[in-house]
Symmetry: C2
Subunit: 640 residues, 2 copies
């Protein structure tokens, strides 16, 4: 055992009262679990634990030794009698290895109790540590499946957590200091995001995505096959959000030898798995080779450690990770790496929205420290329509179409913009700005909405408060009719309606089927609310094509006349536009010494770099002494 771990262990033994009866101390991932015979001794002594935490700067969890835990049946009884029935507990699962009991409830707040008193009571009376999870109002097979999978593999999970824990708390070896950033993907381009951070001690991969606009060849994946990257030596994968261009290749790492942890948020974990499995599904249907299989997605889930925003976590002997809200999609995060004791602080924004949306709060711009900023620049050269105007445009098109007896098709991406549009429509209908017509929601997008309902704590303040405190959940609003896939009867009925369906670029899913039916009728309309990539059907329609050939998977060719009204609204983007990127730089505190621009087409990055390099603008943004870099793939920049 390393001297470093021995030091921690002896601090704990010296600090915790003898009567507690420590039986073992385990490094479980980033946490240190102290197993004791008499947890009750610790009940009013949490100050002692806090003191030790402050001393060793590690997270400590007090757990009960398995010999003193109540049996499962008795524990279930105690939980049921302690929790008020309004909490609606739906499931209880045990993790013998980690001494945890998972309690799933429709109202998890009532299981926790005021100031956590019920949660604490359960622990003290059963000696099982309660982990409390929300049963979503819209049933999500993803959330269900992920949890079942994890609780079926408690032995494996406990074993790897210990492996991670020992690796994280290994001895520091080098006197030498450097921090080096290498661009592996999404530099001078959008797609296949991946950044490598190297110190003499550790290697961290941030995001490992696919390039969704490419179906084959080397440009589909980040540059992972270089000498610099040995998967078995990577300490951690940090995932900022669930979109496939950031998460899509993580299972691939496990296929080729990676055995370490994946750090992300809870919503990202679930959506990421859903998206990855969908990627496999689509590739299989289209007869393309699969980069990995569902087996690796399952392994990735067992290796995932979820973190809350602003929770400081050791992920390597010299690196601490903290996530901050990025405002892009649910669970999206900016990653803050604190490297060495004060050596360097790095913020990687991932995709971020520096403006409040209906779904999410504005991204964070204040950090304890920042030396280097890696910042997305998707819309570095573009100003979007503001949100109020965009919402009013959306309402106008819906009103006009419905008044004419037509149907409105809104193709939505599975994650993010669809849910935002639901909130806009729900609000407009409630306020009678648009007539009450059925709003059909369908496709992969609907499952993602269900996941949103499992994690209301991760939504913006307004919608979060509405769900948690006023019991008004816009996603379960009566206006929305959830349907399975495409439905002829809806497309062909004379009744006006709004249809939200994936995919967002009309390259698959029920949206295409609805489009085929609705396009020829000039009474109908289609509203694009997200980016339409070159080469997609959505792009063709948006650009004004009046006649379109669609080749079905069965090889049948449909000739479609497009007579419906076509409208594109750009103000719902989950990315910051140029003004918001500039505002973020103006607001960020403290000011970074180095700024690396990534995740943008070369023109966007070039223009944004030029823009912030003018002396007056630099001065205005408080970046007079900052260096601005626009690296390309396989460039490395040493920042310390």
């Amino acid at each position: 055992m390393s001297n470093f771990r021995l030091g921690i262990i002896s601090s704990i033994y010296n600090g915790i009262p003898k009567e507690a009866g420590i039986t073992r101390i385990e490094f479980e991932g980033p946490e240190i679990a102290v197993y004791v015979k008499n947890p009750s001794v610790m009940n009013d002594k949490m100050d002692i634990v806090k003191k030790i935490v402050k001393e060793i700067k590690k997270r400590i969890v007090i757990k009960a030794d398995s010999s003193v835990r109540k049996d499962e049946k008795e524990t279930i009884e105690i939980i049921k009698s302690s929790v008020p029935p309004e909490a609606q507990v739906t499931d209880i699962k045990f993790d013998d290895e980690l001494g945890e009991v998972l309690i799933k409830a429709k109202k998890p707040g009532l299981v926790i109790g005021k100031r956590g008193l019920i949660q604490q009571k359960i622990f003290m009376e059963t000696y099982w540590r309660p982990v409390i999870i929300r049963e979503p109002p819209i049933k999500s097979r993803t959330v269900e499946g992920v949890l079942t999978h994890i609780y079926n593999e408690t032995e494996y999970r406990s074993k790897i957590l210990k492996t991670f824990g020992e690796r994280i708390h290994r001895e520091l070896l080098f006197k030498d200091r450097y921090v080096r950033i290498t661009a592996l993907g999404a530099f001078q381009e959008v797609g296949r995001s991946a950044v490598l951070v190297e110190t003499p001690e550790s290697r961290i991969l941030m995001d490992v995505g696919v390039n969704p606009s490419v179906n084959f060849g080397e440009r589909m994946f980040p540059k992972l096959d270089i000498d610099q990257l040995r998967l078995e030596d990577v300490d951690a994968v940090v995932l900022t959000h669930a979109h496939l261009d950031h998460s899509g290749m993580i299972p691939f790492l496990f296929k080729y030898g990676y055995e370490g942890p994946v750090y992300t948020t809870q919503p990202t974990r679930d959506i990421m798995a859903l998206m990855q499995l969908d990627l496999l599904d689509v590739a299989e249907k289209e007869g393309r080779p699969l980069p990995y299989s569902a087996k690796e997605v399952r392994k990735e889930l067992l290796h995932t450690i979820t973190l809350d925003y602003e929770e400081v976590t050791d992920i390597a002997p010299d690196i601490r990770l903290t996530f901050y809200n990025a405002g892009h999609i649910i669970g999206s995060a900016m990653a803050h790496l604190h490297i060495g004791e004060g050596v360097h602080n790095l913020v990687y924004t991932g995709d971020f929205k520096y403006a409040r949306t209906r779904l999410l709060d504005r991204a964070v711009s204040e950090f304890p420290r920042v030396d280097t900023l890696i910042m997305e620049t998707t819309y570095g050269a573009q100003v979007q329509t503001n949100r109020e105007q965009s919402e009013s445009d959306l309402v106008d098109v819906i009103n006009k179409t419905v008044r004419n007896g037509g149907k409105v098709l809104i193709p939505v991406l599975a994650v993010g913009r669809g849910q935002e549009i639901m909130l806009v429509i729900n609000d407009a209908m409630k306020r009678k700005l648009i007539p009450e017509v059925p709003v059909y929601v369908t496709g992969l997008f609907d499952e993602v909405t269900a996941i949103h309902t499992a994690y209301p704590e991760w939504l913006g303040k307004e919608v979060r408060d509405s769900i948690l405190f006023r019991d008004e959940n816009p996603f379960t609003s009566e206006f929305f009719k959830r349907i399975e896939g495409y439905r002829d009867d809806i497309a062909e009925s004379g009744e006006p309606s709004v249809i939200l369906a994936t995919s967002g670029m009309l390259n698959g899913g029920p949206a295409v089927e609805f489009f085929k039916q609705l396009a020829p009728d000039s009474k109908n309309s289609i509203i694009f609310v997200s980016y339409q990539a070159e080469g997609t059907l959505g792009r063709k329609v948006r650009d004004g094509a009046r006649e379109i050939q669609i080749i079905g998977r069965d090889g049948r060719i449909d000739n479609i006349k497009v007579n419906m009204e076509v409208k594109a609204i750009d103000g719902f983007s989950g990315h910051s536009d140029q003004r918001q990127l500039l505002k973020f730089l103006e607001d960020i505190a403290p000011k970074p010494k180095n700024i690396l621009l990534n995740h943008g087409e070369p023109t966007a990055i070039r223009e944004f770099k030029k823009r912030i390099s003018f002396n007056r603008e630099k001065e205005r943004l408080g970046l007079r002494t900052s260096s601005i870099y626009d690296p390309g793939i396989l460039d490395s920049i040493r920042i310390v």
Copy 2:
């Protein structure tokens, strides 16, 4: 065996006449050796070989099968009878493994014969391939030792050459293309030169030096302990010249697992070994830990493959190396890498002098192709006194001192400037510009001069012609008195003299002993002709210190009064000054797309970069579209 090698072999079998009787084809390093039973068949058929060489783009050597070679005694007889006695053959050595006979002679040209006829005759009559080497007029234990060592290990050498050969001619594996340059040492600094060139197929290290101004710690060595560099995967080490800041850490690679070839020129090989052994010697005397031992220097020598200037050589499956004269010291080279078939061309200047000196021709500035230039910038911010003025200054000081009955001490670096000063003094004495007084030469420098006399072909045109065609060797001129170390009788005699002694910065060697004796007498003078590093005794004296304490290795302290005349002359540098660097950029053809500045203090690089970045200057130099980079250590730049 790879299909690639099979293809080459079948081209050779198909091309060479059956009667030649091929017995084996070996990949011996970058060469392909074809062993035949009847070499005489090939005598008038070299056109056939040339045709095959053109087809397969590989170097082919026809050798005789060992079964048909004459025995050693008979071969010696044939050589003696074929070579005129004026050639003065001094040694004959056999390499059974490679079928070569080494012939050492004072006049190697006479062994080769007109148009190579004698050399060819020896091969045809003995079936041994003659390798002809000069016996230097000044005996060099280095040249002697290196050759003896190599010829003692012919079996090992033949074995590793085959390993190299198979590695060089391996199959290409990747469709993907990139070329990446990583700064490992001597970027934003001078010392510890090292550059890594990576493609998907190969890795090349160019120079691996020590930092002579640092005696310990991580700044002493290039950054070799990074994930990106696995010594066992490096295809080749390319060494541009023998100075320790470029060569000093190569043996270290062999200590830590490198098993590949070192490509350099013949003079560099010998001087490098001498310098490395001296480094070990000094470190040992000063009680510092040794980074490697003589064992690794010996291994390095066996792994060294020497190349002539402008000889194109495969060093990896996708990389060809060509050396060009760099004009810095004897054997110094610029390295040209041709990567992929036309993918990219890289020139790394190493240290270079873009001006003719007495010792060497001006560095080359025309290349078949150049896309990226890595260029030294030591004097990027400094203009030196011109050579004529410097020579005249030197002559003046010597004249004045000698006239006053004093002695002139010229501390010289072991390699390069000392020999240049010898040429200046020899010429001045011959032309009676200075009186004929004894010129003593002593120290490591003298052994290096001996090595110069072994390789007159590598000197500048004027001195080369003088030695080879007019039989006038300035290094063996009667003006020079070679002595061992320090001599009291010389220092104390009343007779005026000139003393050339190492070390050049007065931090060791006989120069310090002479200095102690000569400094107090105002009749004497000291002339510094090379850079004096911060912290050295030379720097203190040059900067005008009038009283100096010298602590000897035995701990004795000498208080020395400096009354002698002190003069520094900066025009003898082996580096290009700012004007010469600019002229090189003006002349270089074709024009590089990327220029990376290295080997300079940050101020020198900053000023030179600024200077060549002004639009008008860029235009004048023909570099309007070139990008200029000034990377730091551990930065990587992808150039393709």
